[in-house]
């Protein structure tokens, strides 16, 4: 049976091409793999090979012809004994060509918020039952306790990173874990972030639940390909067959006087990635409760800690199994005049500012997002509906900031409730300097937050 040979698409973007040269003539016998013609595409001249065996019947498009559309019949291939100009009997193959079913229109984007949206539903239940005994705990101990508790409960959880075992952690987060769990589960790696992030991700594909400690997140830039391309995207690319249940954790943001390469806040970077979850706790109870949730989560979680907070103590509930859910912000302080939204170490400035503002009779509501992906925007919106003013606080840079995203969402969802433009307080738009005075200036300060709240409340 005769078949048509069609003008091929030889690149992802090719729609038409020039049939530069025929390398076979009518009557030639060809087998699969033989080069039939040279075709000039938008990019290059390419060879076009036969995929079936047969005899070249009629050549339908002469060499030299330009603008031959993809899927045009250019020759006829016949079988032995068939007439050379046998017409194909089947429906023209061009009909088979890619005419993918016309996709129905994409679902309309969520309609812009109506003029007066209802206050969103929010879950404002307390993190622990009233009356629970509270223990003063540092963030450092809370993180260690979270890992130890989860490792006791699940053999598949292990910790890997530089200096996590014998040195007891560069920042002593893993203190004591080697003694309790042994070197099979508390694993010192060489200084090789790209490699061990990849190995840990592969181990997660293979059914384990790795915790990867980066000595600091600055060094995770060497591993970011595996975090994003391998860990975050595989579930989607595999149609849900396999993913990476794992945690990447470590200190993030500025420590003190360590200069530009060791002082960067990555919150906004990771927050952008579908497939990742991102937590950035401030208090010790959140550090513990969120890390336990992160280890149990079947998705890759970025867990951004802060060196300056490691030594700070907070109340942590004494409970057998205390966890904090992702996507639930915490209102640290209720107020009526303005909303301050922050997370991580930004909360320190937000809370100090609220104290100072209270002395001047300005009542600020302070919200800790705790997780950035998922982000509890309903709690923010609800608060803005009450206070009508919003200031965001973060340590990272202004362009493409977390605050910028929140401001745009609030504008779209609660525009009519805003009585002043949202102010996003961020770190300065400079690499971190070393000099003490310059570093103080580069970071966000409590006074800047106070000034921003005064500005949005027109005081």
């Amino acid at each position: 049976m005769a078949t048509e040979i069609l003008m091929p698409a030889l690149s992802p973007t090719m729609e038409e091409g020039t049939l530069a040269k025929w390398l076979v003539k009518e009557g030639d016998t060809v087998s699969s793999g033989d080069i039939l013609a040279e075709i000039e595409t938008d990019k290059a001249t390419m060879e076009f090979e036969a995929v079936d065996e047969g005899i070249i019947g009629k050549i339908l498009i002469a060499e030299g012809r330009e603008g031959v559309a993809v899927n045009t019949a250019i020759a006829v291939l016949v079988e032995e004994g068939e007439s050379l100009d046998a017409a194909p009997t089947a429906a023209p193959a061009a009909g088979e060509a890619a005419t993918p079913v016309e996709a129905p229109a994409a679902p309309a984007p969520v309609a812009a918020a109506a003029a007066a949206p209802a206050a969103p539903e929010v879950d404002s239940s307390p993190d622990w039952p009233a009356g629970t005994e509270l223990v003063k705990t540092t963030v450092r101990e809370a993180l260690r306790d979270a890992m130890a508790e989860e490792m006791r409960g699940d053999e598949d959880v292990f910790l890997m990173g530089e200096e996590v075992a014998e040195y007891q952690g560069a920042y002593k987060i893993s203190q004591g874990l080697l003694d309790e769990f042994g070197s099979k589960r508390i694993i010192d790696t060489p200084i090789t972030e790209h490699g061990f992030a990849g190995i840990a991700t592969g181990a997660a594909f293979g059914g384990l639940k790795p915790i990867v400690e980066f000595m600091t997140f600055n060094f995770a830039m060497q591993a970011i390909d595996h975090i994003i391309n391998s860990a975050a995207k595989t579930l989607y690319m595999s149609g849900g067959q396999m993913g990476a249940p794992m945690v990447f954790r470590g200190p993030n943001g500025a420590a003190a006087r360590v200069g530009a390469q060791h002082s960067q806040d990555y919150a906004a970077w990771y927050m952008q990635i579908p497939g990742l979850k991102v937590a950035m706790p401030y208090s010790a109870s959140d550090a513990k409760g969120l890390l336990k949730s992160a280890i149990r989560d079947p998705n890759p979680v970025i867990f951004l800690e802060n060196e300056i907070l490691y030594g700070q103590s907070f109340d942590v509930p004494k409970m057998d199994d205390f966890t904090v859910p992702f996507g639930k912000a915490k209102i640290w302080r209720e107020g009526s005049d303005a909303t301050i939204v922050s997370f991580g170490i930004g909360m320190k400035y937000a809370l100090e500012a609220a104290d100072k503002l209270a002395e001047e009779g300005i009542s600020a509501e302070v919200i800790d997002l705790r997780t950035l992906r998922p982000m509890d925007l309903p709690t923010v919106i609800k608060s803005v509906m009450k206070t009508n003013r919003l200031v965001t606080v973060e340590e990272g840079w202004p362009q493409g900031s977390v605050g910028g995203y929140i401001a745009s969402e609030v504008m779209q969802q609660a525009f009519d409730y805003l009585d002043a433009p949202v102010i996003t307080c961020t770190g300065k738009d400079v690499p971190m300097p070393y000099a003490a005075n310059l570093e103080r200036h580069a970071l966000i300060t409590t006074d800047e937050v106070v000034a921003a709240v005064k500005q949005v409340t027109y005081r």
Partner: protein, 329 residues
């Protein structure tokens, strides 16, 4: 087993030889069909064909046991067929349809099968190397005796993460076979222009990882080397490197202008070293099969491939809701 190494006529049954012939032919015909569907615009984007390299994966699969894992790059169709994934699902993924192995969301470069222990399908050159070592890490952690085949190219062999991985695989004795599929080119870059020393398998020496070069056009040589590698890994001695010298007949991807090598070079490989022809000859001269037997196999394979193409054309495009699923578990 030293005798085995030098044996010219390896001890292989007619059934085994026939199976290798069938498996390699399936890959060859499948890839030809994929090239054809690409030409018709039914397959989009990048599409990297495995034609010429069939003996590598078929030989190594012959050395694998149930439960062993495999992971490779974007040039992955052959690996998937060789480990038993359905031609229909692979082809329908190439056309981006609901019936594809990733429901149409992965494409040619990103397919997976938990059932067949196939862990992708990775589009970032070299990324599969630590991932593969990580799979082996999980097996060692669980002490289940499994081995992971981690395939990568001669081009990928220049990625830093490969050596980070060699180092860790060696210190932790991970049961991983690193299979370097040296098809002599990384896109248009001949190996001699990218690689400081020609024998990539020696690059494990610095880490104490044994390695050997293998004739990748000869399925029996590949299988033989694969068995040595697997035995090494399974006995707890850590990783092993196989540099399998092979050749791709087609362009790097579908849009390769092929200006970096001569037509004669390709033709010479095809006519003198073709892995499928070699087995065909062995079958016929050894009187293991007749021309008719082989014709029957050809026909059977053609049917599987044509069916997969029909399936891939008929399977509907994924529902729009699929856009929003499988982002989080």
């Amino acid at each position: 087993m030293a005798a085995r190494k030098s044996t010219k006529k390896p001890n292989v049954s007619a059934e085994e030889l026939t199976q290798y012939y069938r498996d390699m032919l399936l890959i060859r015909r499948f890839e030809e069909k994929a090239g054809q569907l690409y030409g018709m615009g039914l397959i989009g984007g990048f599409c990297h064909l495995y034609i010429g390299q069939e003996a590598v994966v078929v030989g190594l699969e012959a050395a694998a046991e149930e439960g062993d894992k495999r992971i490779t790059s974007y040039r992955d169709h052959g690996h998937m067929l060789a480990c038993g994934m359905e031609a229909n699902g692979v082809m329908a993924e190439l056309t981006g349809r609901e019936g594809g192995l990733s429901k149409g969301k992965g494409g040619s470069m990103h397919m997976f099968s938990k059932e067949k222990h196939f862990y992708g399908g990775h589009g970032i050159v070299g990324a599969q190397v630590p991932l593969g070592a990580g799979l082996a890490f999980a097996d060692k952690y669980k002490d289940n005796g499994r081995v992971t085949f981690t395939y990568f190219g001669d081009g990928a062999a220049n990625q830093g993460q490969v050596y980070e991985t060699f180092n860790m695989a060696a210190i932790w004795d991970l049961p991983v076979v690193f299979v370097i599929e040296n098809n002599q080119y990384a896109m248009g870059t001949a190996q001699s222009r990218s690689t400081s020393t020609p024998d990539i398998y020696t690059r494990g020496e610095a880490f104490g990882i044994p390695g050997e070069a293998v004739d990748g056009m000869n399925v029996l040589a590949v299988k033989d080397a694969g068995e040595r590698a697997v035995a090494h890994c399974r006995s707890g001695k850590g990783p092993y490197i196989l540099e399998v010298k092979t050749y791709r007949y087609r362009g790097h991807s579908m849009s390769d202008p092929a200006k970096y090598r001569t037509r004669e070079e390709v033709q010479k490989m095809r006519s003198e070293r073709d892995p499928i022809e070699q087995v065909r000859d062995m079958l016929l001269t050894g009187k293991h099969a007749s021309e008719e037997d082989l014709k029957a196999i050809d026909k059977e394979i053609k049917e599987i491939v044509n069916k997969s193409a029909d399936f891939a054309k008929e399977s509907p495009e994924p529902a729009l809701e699929e856009l929003w699923t499988d982002i989080y578990a």
